[in-house]
Amino acid sequence: MNKLCALIIAPLLFVLVWDTPAVAQSTTMTGYVRNYTGILLEGDQEYAILQDTFDLRIEHTRGKVAFKANPYIYFYHNREKEIDLRQSYMDIRLETVDIRIGKQQIVWGKADGVFITDVISPKDLSEYLLPDFEEIRIGVQALKVDYYIGNNSLEFVWVPDFTPTRIPAEDSIWYVRPPFPGTATFDYSKKEVPSKFSNSELFLKYSAMTSLIDVELMAGSMWDDNPTLHVTQSISPSTGLPVLTVTPEHHRLELAGGSFSAALGGMVFRGEGAYYRGKYFNSEDPALNDRVVKKDYAHFLLGLDFTLLDIKMSLQVIEKQIQDYDESIINEEREDTVTFLMSRDFLRETLKLELFSYIGMNDNGSLIRPKMTYDLMDGFQIVAGFNIFTGNKGTYGQFDDKDMIYSKIKYAF
């Protein structure tokens, strides 16, 4: 309860006591309440999720400065409630420079639902890829500085403290056990990245918006959000049998990339790509130290958005390619994915039917997400849909028994 007070009441008090009538100021408070219920279609129709959400956005602007706080609460029927700040930052808006300091979600790139140059905010995968993207991205403590010249901008981001990907808890239906024998022991002594200046993450982006094309060029020096599993084998002194020790450890990654978006003849062409240097991959070669090997990889996408018979469609083709590939690497040299989106509005844009799919080309697995959104009245929305997994292995096929039907009832204020 104390945390609740600190997150919600404190920003309100701050707004109320900040009294400087000489400068134009405004305060807005918006947000939503939502019920999200998901039921697994197989087995005993277990609840995949039963969540009530309260999400509040408080924004105060006074002249050239502003602050925003976005506290939220997730209430669950069968686990501890979650209270946190999705974002909480201050803005300083100068003539050609914007400065943002605090916990913030930062989004880069032109891809939809795929993370290539969009690497600053780590992902919350505790509910896999199923929540809205605003809820998947974890806010990071950062300093962001944007310098503008017309429709060109230069953005610099300093993340002083590393935040890793949030993975599902061991009792979650989305938890995937690492592929090691049950006898393997885990050593978490290296899992944390020490909080110090030399462990900062730095990013730089140039972007331009023109009539012909929108372009982004970026570079970054960061930590791999996902830990590498280092594997060592030793002989147990008590049993004399070999024992595997798995040590999760985060490593630095450097990347450079870019993206573009251009309209031509009623269609929008998009592209995004990045070259990552220094990624550790697990290997099956027992001769390798810790059974890991360091390689570079490229990750790129081409996309096309168009409208056909009043149906909006979007197609993306994505490839992840390990450079200087070694046959012992557990991951495949190339990993190809296709995403497909089609949507159409009905009843004066109050009813929307949508189908979004991820299709994994390597394992023939897919995640198919049909949904219907109906605006019952202004700000009051009902969503109903399915998450269907196909295949039997790989990114999507491993959840073949997790098909679900869900509803979201949301009131925005």
């Binding site: 405004s26 918006t30 939503y32 602007t61 502003a66 808006r93 914007d98 979600q105 930062i106 989004v107 790139g109 032109k110 809205d132 993207f133 605003e134 991205r137 944007d146 503008y148 017309g150 429709n151 901008s153 972007s207 918006m209 009539s211 929108d214 978006s261 251009a262 309209a263 009623g266 269609m267 929008v268 958005d305 168009f306 409208t307 509005d345 004066r348 844009e349 109050t350 605006d375 009245m377 202004d378 700000g379 929305q381 949301k410 925005a412 204020f413």
Partner: protein, 262 residues
Amino acid sequence: MALIKKSLVFAVTLLTVPFLAFSQAEPTGLKIIENVYHRPTSEDMQGDLTMTLTNAHGETRVRRIHQFTRDFGQVEKKIMFFQYPADVRDTAFMTWGYDESGKDDDQWIYLPALKKVKRISSDSKSDYFMGSDFTYDDLGDRHPADDVHKLLREETLDGSPCYVVESIPVQKDYMYSSTVTWVIKDKWIAVKKEFYDEDREHLKTLAVKQYENISGFWIVLHSQMHNIQKNHTTDMALTNVKLNNGITESQFTERMMQRGGR
């Protein structure tokens, strides 16, 4: 002979002058629509737009937008910030429209849930704007050369003498088979317009409910589009209008879209 010649010239002049005077008083349909199209407008404008959609059962939905426009000569830029309903608040929509024939508008949308500005393809001119009774083409300035115009008659509408002009599109597959427009004579404001569908049936009627002279420019402040076939109405009201307020090019950027107009 000279006298006969002079008399003939005088007689012709007498007959011709009234005819010329009548021609000047009653311009062609094309000229009337050109006068509406070329009516002086401010270089920039900002204001709050409220759309109220009313269905056949009398149920209403409201959309509120804060918008900025500026004419930069060859390109007109427009940025709209959605303010209501709450679930679309802070969504921004930007258009750069070009005078150059055949060049499509550039359009971008900022969706706060995605925190990303996305380039989108130009909406079809026949699409309805935000579920209203206005198509994108209804909201734009249709070029006079796109239709063949004919002056049907003159009549008084709500106390204002008007020209009534029928316009038939040059493009045969256009969404309307014809439109009929009532234009106030001395102000060149189209105060009423009837739209006829592809089957030549009366589809909808636009009625201007309020207009005002602001800083020397005639501005429509309230108009209503009634779809007769579906008995659905959209009221569009413009408030807090500011003209020639010195809106700069920096207003029409990705930065402003992300900032939500603040």
